[in-house]
């Protein structure tokens, strides 16, 4: 036994784990780990970057904040929450991961996520592809007109943008209007056949929110608030989130 024993500090420093505990209801149960490993045994991210959920939590509990700040693993956990579901103590490891993402300097976070968030902040569409509100409106109207004519059974079908007083506010993933507009149509048909009174919004129509994944809380809030405000301004009663 020549190895130096690990000496636990007698003065408790304020760790990353302590800070996250203050943010969460019941402290996210973050100090209740029984080390059983149920989280890790069913986690698809176990083994990536030589990490797993239990190890991540134990490292945080031991105050290994520098290692926590450095691991790419926080971008490989999808925060799916299965670990909470199977945990006997309902420990909120995904929130620990989310807050660890926020420890990274913004410009050092993964370029793809960062770029998609910044695109969404460019205009009021809040689309991760940067699509302007007018372009979205043009595509929707163009595709609708094509189908109304080519499929006369749907001549009365509507796909309104900014319809005041509609019952449902629908958002839309940018992939369809930008890269495969015909894929918007089946959902419109279902809503039409069901007699649903719905509308898109010219503002906040983008369904994806990469600012949330980026752990940029202010930008996340801006995107979500833009969508919610548009639904409110239009007097819609229900927000249908298609993502």
């Amino acid at each position: 036994m020549t190895d130096q024993p690990i000496i636990l500090g007698s003065v408790k420093k304020d760790t990353f784990l302590d800070k996250v505990k203050e943010l969460l209801p019941d402290g996210g149960n973050l100090n209740l780990c029984l080390t059983c490993g149920a989280c890790s045994s069913g986690c698809p991210a176990t083994g990536l970057e030589n990490m797993d959920p239990r190890k991540f939590l134990r490292m945080a509990a031991l105050g290994m904040d520098e290692e926590i700040k450095k691991t790419n693993w926080v971008w490989m956990c999808t925060m799916c929450q299965r670990c909470i579901y199977v945990c006997p103590m309902q420990i909120n490891i995904p929130q620990l991961v989310f807050n660890a993402r926020a420890l990274w300097p913004r410009e050092e976070r993964p370029k793809g996520i960062l770029g998609s968030c910044d695109m969404a902040l460019r205009n009021e569409s809040c689309s991760a592809m940067g699509t302007e509100p007018e372009d979205f409106k043009f595509v929707v109207e163009d595709v609708l007109a094509e189908y109304q004519e080519a499929q006369p059974e749907f001549a009365d079908m509507q796909a309104p943008v900014d319809k005041q007083g509609a019952e449902f506010f629908l958002n839309q993933n940018s992939r369809e209007p930008v890269t495969e507009p015909d894929e918007m149509v089946p959902l419109w048909k279902i809503l039409h056949l069901a007699g649903v009174d719905w509308t898109y919004g010219s503002k906040g129509w983008g369904g994806e929110n990469y600012c949330m994944f980026l752990a940029d809380d202010d930008a996340w809030k801006q995107i979500t608030s833009t969508s919610a405000k548009q639904a409110e301004d239009l007097g819609c009663k229900t927000f249908l989130n298609t993502e």
């Binding site: 299965r82 015909d182 894929e183 048909k189 056949l193 980026l214 993502e243």
Partner: protein, 134 residues
């Protein structure tokens, strides 16, 4: 939906799927409901640049889908659709991956020729609405 409202509300979607494809054509993967595994497309993973890790993450999901021997997997959102579609090609099983809206309209007989991007050859020509649009 399940994440926000729990397992019971997901049963409504099972009802829809079974109504559309027929009870005998519906196969639940194992494990399922809240015990199911994430596919690895969400949380920003698709845009994170860690492609190899993302495909490795998805290996479990691909094995689950392959074990059902189903011809198609229905994906509930875009992240899942993109990831599972890539898993299908990457691991070589080549099952189809479709949005639910596609199957609903197909079963209603109102799915046109240009709305079939994600149907495979076995369903591409089935019950085409206004085939002249092609």
């Amino acid at each position: 939906m399940r994440k926000s409202y729990g397992d019971p509300i997901a049963e409504d979607l099972r009802f829809v799927v079974k109504s559309v494809v027929g009870e005998e054509n519906f196969i639940d993967m194992q494990p399922n409901r809240s015990n199911n595994f994430c596919c690895g497309g969400g949380g920003g993973f698709l845009q994170s640049g860690f492609k190899d890790a993302r495909l490795e993450y998805g290996r479990l999901k691909d094995q689950q889908i392959q074990a059902t021997k189903a011809d198609y997997c229905i994906a509930g959102c875009h992240n899942c659709h993109a990831q599972i579609h890539e898993l299908s090609e990457h691991y070589g099983a080549e099952y189809g991956v479709v949005h639910l809206w596609t199957l609903i309209c197909l079963s209603l007989g109102v799915l046109g020729p240009k709305e079939r991007e994600y149907l495979r050859d076995d369903l591409k020509e089935v019950n085409v609405f206004h085939p002249e649009m092609e």
